[in-house]
Point group: C2
Chain length 339, copies 2
Amino acid sequence: MSSSAAQQPTPQLFFQTINAYQRTESLKAAIELEVFTAIGEGNATPSDIAKRCSTSERGMRILCDYLCIMGFLAKQDQRYSLTPDAAMFLDKRSPAYLGGTTEFLCSPMLTDGSKNIAEAVRKGGTALPDEGTIGPENPVWVKFARAMGPMMAMPSQLIPKLVDPQANQKLKILDIAAGHGLFGIGFARNNPQAEIVALDWAPVLAVAKENARQAGLTDRYSTIEGSAFDVEFGSGYDLVLLTNFLHHFDPPTCETLLRKVRTALVEGGRAVTLEFVPNDDRVTPPDTATFSMMMLISTPAGDAYTFAELEKMFANAGFTRSTIQQLPPTIEQVVISER
Amino acid sequence: MSSSAAQQPTPQLFFQTINAYQRTESLKAAIELEVFTAIGEGNATPSDIAKRCSTSERGMRILCDYLCIMGFLAKQDQRYSLTPDAAMFLDKRSPAYLGGTTEFLCSPMLTDGSKNIAEAVRKGGTALPDEGTIGPENPVWVKFARAMGPMMAMPSQLIPKLVDPQANQKLKILDIAAGHGLFGIGFARNNPQAEIVALDWAPVLAVAKENARQAGLTDRYSTIEGSAFDVEFGSGYDLVLLTNFLHHFDPPTCETLLRKVRTALVEGGRAVTLEFVPNDDRVTPPDTATFSMMMLISTPAGDAYTFAELEKMFANAGFTRSTIQQLPPTIEQVVISER
């Protein structure tokens, strides 16, 4: 863009943004029609892709062009190919396939919350009934546990390497709000002496237990059914995992939980928090910082907390020291807090 | 981004795109709450903006951060300011305010069409009933005429300067599917000897006539009520305007209309077409090329035609020569076709 073009205001950003919902819907359609899988299999022309996906050629051409514009496909000489991201995450035959996460990410519980953002801004919290996603035993979390595993595969492998790099000592680990259970399972896979206690609502734990069984972990895997705010944790934990959990609650609620976490830890024990932690400006890094809007839409008082805010919550709960680490290539950060 | 980070596939684009609907909804909320106007008036902190917009401070802080990430606001020392685009197009006090266009751009007629893009791809045309937006006398076009004027203000001033730069000769102009009427009115404003005949469905023409009256053009402004495909155009036109019209129809339908247009033109007369004309690759320029998806969603067989396709339609209809010109800073192009 020339500098004079950049200086003149244009309605382009407005137009792009007001139509951004078509990006969501086009990507959903492409996943539903298995367009990425079809192209991964070698279909490259609108005609061949359309045949493989049982659609019109014209509709497929328009969809594939749109997918090019969004950056999921490349096009040369009227032939489409997958970008590396699409090949890795959107071809059904890839072990890192993420298409199933739309079951959760596009569930009405989340999308309905965004239908009235003005009201959420007025209120300062979700406009959904029954406390949004954090309502008691909200079934969306079973959907989450079933659908979001693939999205968590990468961080669940990275975190144990960061926190337990030697992997040569007995570790007792409490996995709070375990969901799919992959974080605890990741620690158990990393360290054959790690023993996991997974905590979540019973219907969600069914998914975690299934995943643990598939990982061959039954003898080192036990569970506590219920809400993390209500049940007894037990004690003697070397690590307590708080993965994508604190962002649902306000700081006083988090602090109450963290005090309980601290009591469950052994001397020298650590809390391991995975979170979307924006910089102090709250607008960078952009993908991390947008998570705050997701929490406004879907929870009464949750947020994407800065490291300073998390550090203060842990300090108020009695932890001596917190440190933060990036977890590339994910957009999340890990905070490790010492008892 | 470092080159190694760029090479490693990440789920970021997937995540951004699947959540893109939150961009639409957040911008709509900000317009509804008059956030841009509030900041334009000098409110800069979350607390002051929240007070002016009658919202919670927490919700406003999260919304404003999200607007920063999207590029509509800037933030420094916890104070927000408008970007030049937002000041020009989203502050209600600006004459170029575009907020009202959401009445059309986010009308259920358009957003409902995108709820089942997979079905539109299968069919090769809109999944909406009654031919989508081109159904007979579809009331969405009255909404269009009332809401979209501000978006068309800029092109409606630029095109007359391009087509009638001297503005010193009598011109009889047919404005097909006039809508808000601004294009014809632009020619009449540019040239005191220009006489406009505006054609559209009666309820839409009411808006065009109102705009013509406000521009003081009653004596040089007449109308033809009905569908461009059915009514008599009359004859002796120096110019026929086809602004944002051809994209709703398939090429044979366009050619039928263009033959009729040609007949209505004088020797040496010209058809002036404003369109979203992508390059031959159909994926650049991106903002222009995305318009094809809008047509798939909302019409049975419309498209964003390339210049080669438009040129062929005009040639098949008997026009001797077509030329294309960019219309910066808009994302549209003007095709001038000689009888």
